[in-house]
Chain length 336, copies 2
């Protein structure tokens, strides 16, 4: 299998490498005949340019990396996939990097700015904490997705996220409207105004507004995975048999919680109503079907790419965009 280079194509077509490069990049300053001839030769040879060589020329336009933290989360994957769709008409090339939930996405990003000369970054499922400081010296456009950076050290980065506070409030209000009074919240550690924090605030706001008491012991910390949620839910419900609803900060957590309730012989929604966040596909096929706050995945993806594009191509300032989700109440929440 011969691997053709631009040089081979040039020789075969009887033109210079410069001309082949021009054809390759659809530059206008090539005569129609030359262009066609070169394209014919490239097609015959199944020519594919060497991405490394192209990447080596820095002026080569932009390269953006989408960094997804947590491969197992279907919501984050679908978000990344949507972004790739939306990115088709951007000039920049996109790469996606899935990194482990334990890994440091900021260090990884820093590395990419060097090793791949990345000139734009989108963070998916990132957590803003002290670690983000390593990007202090990095002056390229960035957008954070699923989390607002407005009041964080990363404020000069743009962000696109759901209105976590309002949506959590709406979810808990729906539980209250349906008669739930002992409501537990399953969420993560939170920090500043990250999304777990905003969701916790929203939940408390709803409780306060309707004069429903909140017991701090009913905030249950969990990682956003099935096994962890299941494992923490079991002892929790054993020691809190009177809980009649659970607001979970992720659909995976909600599914783990429901399974734990079933393990304890409780009915959902008969004994406990459960609602999640994200709107992952499997939640529409479980029994009971999972009630959830559906994230506006397509819109988050569209806006993220748009904002980044504005920053990269027009030098627009960082914006902070908040979108509404949709409350989808189905079988896992009791009827009014």
């Amino acid at each position: 299998m011969k691997i053709y280079t631009i040089r081979d194509i040039a020789d075969l077509a009887g033109v210079s490498v410069t001309t082949v490069s021009r054809v390759l990049n659809n530059r206008p300053d090539v005569s129609k005949e030359t262009q066609e001839k070169v394209q014919r030769v490239m097609a015959e040879c199944h020519f594919v340019g060497n991405a490394n060589a192209r990447g080596l020329k820095q002026a080569d336009g932009d390269m953006v990396a989408i960094i997804i933290r947590g491969r197992q989360n279907p919501f984050l994957s679908s978000l990344a996939e949507e972004m790739l769709q939306q990115a088709y008409d951007m000039k920049a090339a996109f790469i996606t990097e899935y990194i482990d939930e334990q890994a440091d996405e900021f260090r990884h990003a820093l590395m990419l700015t060097h090793s791949r000369r990345v000139t734009g970054l989108i963070f998916v499922g990132s957590r803003i904490d002290e670690r983000c400081r390593v990007l202090d010296g990095v002056n390229i456009p960035m957008v954070f997705t699923t989390v607002s950076t407005q009041d964080t050290p990363m404020a000069r980065a743009a962000s696109v996220s759901m209105d976590d506070r309002a949506m959590a409030c709406a979810a808990v209000e729906a539980l209250i409207a349906r008669g739930c009074r002992k409501i537990a919240v399953f969420g993560g550690d939170y920090l500043g105004t990250d999304s777990p924090a905003l969701r916790a605030m929203g939940a408390k706001e709803a409780l306060l507004r309707h004069s429903v008491a909140f017991d701090v012991n009913c905030y249950v910390k969990t990682r956003f995975t099935l096994p962890d949620a299941h494992a923490v839910a079991l002892p929790f419900f054993r020691s809190h048999p009177d809980i009649d609803a659970a607001f979970c900060m992720s659909d995976l957590v909600a599914l783990g919680v429901i399974r734990a309730l079933h393990d304890l012989g409780k009915s959902v929604p008969g004994d406990v109503s459960v609602i999640g966040v994200d709107g992952i596909e499997v939640g529409r096929y479980t029994t009971p079907r999972l009630s959830t706050i559906e994230q506006p995945v397509t819109e988050i993806a569209r806006q993220s790419v748009q904002v980044l594009s504005d920053m990269m191509e027009n030098g627009a300032p960082a914006r902070h965009i908040t979108l509404q989700g949709a409350l989808r109440l189905t079988e896992s929440v009791r009827a009014e």
Copy 2:
């Protein structure tokens, strides 16, 4: 943010770029002091080499691409992730490419051999059909995973897969042992001896062995997605009310089928026993818990990387490895 090159490091350390390169690649022929000095400077500058430049030198050792077809399938993602784990001590660099289920993984692979000078390929979730011909001229080591290439046009490629036929047979025998007699099979289109074909054979073998009749109308074609499985299962069970078991060729299909049964007011496993294939995490947390043929994910990943490594580093011939899965019977199958 200054981006340091190897040249900068060389100047700062007072050595040549050659020497820096040597340190970078852990070559033995550098004096200890020089090495330490260079490493100190690199650390201070947070130096990260330019991957494009490195990749441009073809002798740079090996580059293997893992091509995963179908991003939405959690089983395939976890397989790819395991491979990355296993690949740590291989000399080659690994890249993962998730491609759309509609896309052509063979063309994509061909492209990668050129654009990224990929010298080894692992296909995950690939389908072997006519399209594979585009790789005819490509003489680099390849391994197919989750499918055997033994009797296909890709026989010179290695393959590592579960013993689909035996496992499907065991699954259906388990259904028969538990008293099921009207068994439907939910699978894909099949071709030659690909895994749907082997699973179908295994299922029929079990039926034959126990003299249970198989109605060809009870082979239900579906894509391996939740919505599709759910959509085809509804009309099927309406028109076949006497079915008492379903063997599904993927856990996602099984979950869609179970939901359809619930929609029709049927109980699982009371009315219909259901068993899937793959062993995805969510199946352990649904109600009922999903019975399945658990793929030996870690072992498939380990062997795939090992076989590829043997081919790339030692010129070993292509091997075809078949592994056993584990039948995990839980709540979705009725008791004996």
